[in-house]
């Protein structure tokens, strides 16, 4: 009986690993490369005590705490302590994203494509594909952990120790695996892969925001946010192994629920029942644009609410971020209240400018997803009949582009607006909302250019269109961490996000605004030209 549930799990695991070698290799290379390269540079960047002192002051400011987690190391400070503080929360985010990717890919996506049905028709246990997906996640995360630990050991930063190196690596592995199991559970609840991915990111986002809020207010509460466990490892400090135990316990618990849910439901069904649909199409569903809009509606709403909530959450700590008097009472006495208020505003506007990049990058994601669907919907065969209708390629292309643009523009706007509303509410000497909304106008062309780049790939290299994800991933890396890594200016300007000045702190540069918008328009047209003159993808 037991055998019939799990037979061939080992074979399937090996098969999944072999099939996924390229994405696994790319993720490993990216993560371990980033960890190792940064570790190699840190002794150089933070070699002097003055450099250390200044970065520690920066990292202790509430704005930095909200982005990277609290700085808990005790003096004397070492480059390794700074490294751990800067990298832990961020790398946790990356391994969580990696695990979501593989978890959904090997469960719900297989099911959507009908491959699971074929596999299950063979002498394969009922739970074997899920066991194989779980084992694959475990193996990938272990590889990430071991290779990262070895990279850290090899770099040998001042202040690092072998226990800390391995705690960092294995902590990342446990953290990634834990989020992978969350995603496996979501794959049982949702009825398709898009739903499973969205739900997984929703969980990740909620926990990340919760961590940010507790870190800024009271780091003891961070224990409750799950995400915060990764900070509690106290790498290169106390080297606490307890969080790893917690992560693994939670992972096992979630896996238990997942396997129970998987045993209860039918293949291709979610746990949520299918409701009957409309008998006739509504008058609003009448053409390619309304079709794309209708298909993207639910995910659009989720993304927009998500961005708004993210904005509101960040805005809510503006009061704390901009309270320099509390951080440095002497300054208030020396400068006087009026001057301190000006300084407070500058700190907040600087913080808002960094957040604006995050909103721009995160806001690009739903827009890019929509645009990439021009090809992926094609491959699913959904568009074949549309092409046989009186619908030109120009109309179909512009429908996807239009919905993508609405998606991106609205997402950026709502992120900035949420930040503006709750930010002004949380401050004693508020900025005007319009001032903060400069961030929207400033970064809008960056989102448009990123969409333009995506469109060119969609048109020109449909099979390699996923390459466009390099732009937001590198963008968030170079601008979120770039300052701390001492990246040269050109390296920060490789993506369009780096072409914008620090709005809302500075004035909007209208020249930049217009040439970037123009560039975006040209790229979208090039994308169209390529799309209109090639074979469509066959399923």
């Amino acid at each position: 009986m037991r055998n019939s549930q799990v037979s061939q799990s080992g074979y399937l695991t090996r098969f999944y690993l072999r099939r996924d070698w390229l994405p696994i290799g790319l993720w490993l290379l990216g993560i371990v490369g980033l960890m190792g390269a940064a570790a190699g540079k840190f002794d150089g960047i933070y070699g002097t005590q003055s450099a250390l002192a200044s970065i520690v002051t920066t990292l202790k400011s509430p704005a930095m705490v909200s982005l990277f987690g609290p700085f808990i190391a005790k003096p004397p400070y070492t480059p390794a302590a700074v490294y751990a503080a800067e990298m832990m929360v961020f790398m946790g985010l990356i391994v969580a994203m990696m695990s979501i990717y593989f978890a959904v890919r090997n469960t719900r996506t297989e099911e959507d494509n009908g491959i699971l049905e074929l596999v299950r028709a063979h002498a394969v246990g009922k739970q074997s594909p899920l066991i194989a997906a779980t084992l694959e996640l475990l193996i990938i995360n272990l590889m990430v952990g071991v290779l990262s630990a070895l990279a850290l050991q090899g770099a040998g930063m001042t202040g690092s120790d072998i226990t800390g190196d391995w705690l960092f690596g294995l902590g990342l592995a446990a953290f990634g695996f834990m989020f992978g199991t969350f995603s496996l559970l979501m794959s049982q609840l949702a009825s398709n892969s898009r739903g499973a991915t969205s739900l997984s990111y929703l969980v990740l986002g909620v926990l990340y925001i919760a961590r940010m809020l507790t870190d800024v207010q009271n780091t003891d509460n961070t224990w409750w946010t799950v995400y915060g466990w990764i900070e509690k490892l106290a790498i290169y400090g106390k080297n606490n192994w307890l969080p790893i135990v917690l992560m693994l316990l939670l992972a096992v618990l979630v896996l238990g629920v997942t396997f129970f849910a998987s045993a209860k439901r039918d293949v291709t069904a979610g746990l949520l029942p299918n409701r009957p649909g409309r008998q006739r199409a509504s008058r609003l569903l009448a053409g390619p644009f309304s079709l794309v809009f209708r298909l993207e509606r639910t995910s659009l709403i989720i993304w927009l609410i998500g961005l708004f909530v993210l904005g509101v959450s960040y805005g809510s700590i503006f009061g704390t971020v901009g309270d320099l008097m509390k951080a440095n009472p002497v300054m208030a006495k020396v400068l006087g209240t009026a001057a301190v208020n000006v300084a407070n505003r500058t700190v907040i506007l600087n913080f808002a400018a960094t957040l604006a990049i995050i909103f721009a990058v995160v806001g690009s994601i739903p827009a890019m997803i929509t645009l990439l669907k021009l090809n992926s919907d094609e491959r699913k065969g959904w568009l074949e009949q549309i092409h046989a209708k009186q619908v030109s390629r120009a109309r179909l292309y512009s429908s996807y582009v239009a919905v993508a643009l609405i998606n991106g523009i609205m997402a950026l706007f709502l992120g900035v607006l949420g930040m503006a509303i709750s930010g002004t509410a949380s401050m004693t000497h508020p900025l005007t909302i319009t001032r903060i909304l400069r961030a929207f106008v400033g970064y809008l062309p960056a989102v448009l250019v990123v969409l333009g780049i995506t469109a060119v790939l969609v048109g020109l290299l449909p099979r390699l269109q996923a390459l466009s994800w390099v732009v937001p991933i590198y963008g968030v890396f170079s601008l979120y961490l770039g300052g701390l890594f001492d990246l040269p200016k050109w390296a920060k300007q490789l993506t369009p996000y780096g072409w914008v000045n620090r709005v809302p702190l500075s004035e909007i540069q209208w020249g930049t605004f217009w040439w970037m918008t123009g560039l975006a328009a040209v790229l979208l047209l090039i994308g169209y030209y390529c799309y209109a003159h090639r074979d469509l993808l066959e399923n």
Binding site: P276, G277, Q279, A281, H387, A388, V391, D535
Partner: protein
């Protein structure tokens, strides 16, 4: 002479180095049902996708209503309706919504006929497409196409997921279109379907049209398989002209089976009658037989074409 609706001349299509279509040449005349038959992977769907402007031909020409299939695709599609071989539908829309959408995209209206078709094909239009089987997805596409008023209809293996009852309804609807004088291109590998509905057929193999003509012209190429039991011995039949694959049943006396060329069938029947037939079974020629024949007699066929 009827006008030509579809005209294909030496159409070619390359995917990288792979030559999917080598030489496709045929016409579909106004008011005609043209059967497009060939084995899997012969290039039927590729040809149709070029005709729809989804793929771009790499050589030769193809026109529908006298307009270029790539350049003027939108103008052509205003008067065209199409059902693909594999119908994939947006999983979160209902069948009813998709039918209406397909109609609206060609400025057509949901009419009483649409409702009648939904009833006839026994489709529940309120179900989400993700719950439909392959056959039900095909029904959605068929209902939309049959309630579209077009001049040229293209069906790419439209009955592969339908049960025999639904196949029958499909055939009735195609015959109704034929009666109205519509032109139809029907790709299929079910010869009985083609035989019943098509005026002319074109056979495609390995990216080439190897034969076109009316069914009567083709029929001489086909063989009927006959299994017969008689009171008298039949062993000498093996030598008769027009008989192939002659086999004697080991277990039953005087029972044989053989394939007979369609043009010799009358002579064979005349020869059989005096042997006192006990039972007779005839299996109509299948597409497979036709192909096997082409495969074995390529030379003969090309001679005949001349």
């Amino acid at each position: 002479m009827a006008n030509t609706v579809l005209e294909i001349r030496h159409l070619q299509k390359k995917f990288g180095k792979f030559q999917a279509l080598q030489d496709i040449t045929f016409d579909v005349k106004e008011g005609e049902v043209f059967g497009f038959i060939g084995p899997n992977g012969a290039g039927k769907s590729t040809t149709i996708r070029v005709l729809l402007g989804i793929l771009r031909g790499t050589g030769g020409q193809a026109t529908i209503f006298g307009q270029d299939v790539w350049r003027d695709s939108v103008k052509i599609h205003a008067r065209l309706a199409y059902v693909p071989g594999d119908v994939y539908l947006w999983p979160n829309l209902s069948g009813g919504e998709i039918i209406d959408l397909f109609l609206k995209l060609n400025q057509q209206k949901h009419t009483a006929k649409t409702d009648a078709l939904i009833k006839q094909f026994e489709l529940d239009p309120t179900k989400k497409a993700r719950t439909y089987s392959k056959g039900n997805r095909q029904k959605v596409a068929l209902i939309a196409v049959f309630s579209t008023n077009a001049d040229f209809y293209i069906f790419d293996e439209p009955t592969s997921g339908l049960d025999p009852l639904m196949e029958e309804i499909f055939q009735q609807n195609v015959l109704a279109l034929k009666k109205q004088g519509k032109s139809i291109l029907l790709s299929s590998h079910i010869l009985s379907e083609v035989e019943r509905m098509c005026d002319r057929i074109g056979i495609i193999r390995e990216g080439k049209i190897i034969e076109t003509g009316t069914l009567d012209e083709m029929r001489h190429l086909t063989r009927t398989v006959i299994t017969v039991k008689t009171k008298e011995d039949l062993a000498d039949f093996a030598q008769l002209p027009g008989i192939h694959n002659f086999k004697i049943d080991e277990r039953t006396t005087n029972k044989v089976s053989f394939a007979v060329d369609s043009e010799s069938i009358g002579a064979i029947m005349t020869a059989l009658a005096p042997r006192q037939i006990v039972s007779l079974q005839s299996t109509p020629p299948t597409l497979e037989d036709l192909f096997l024949r082409y495969y074995n007699h390529d030379q003969e066929v090309s001679d005949h074409a001349k």
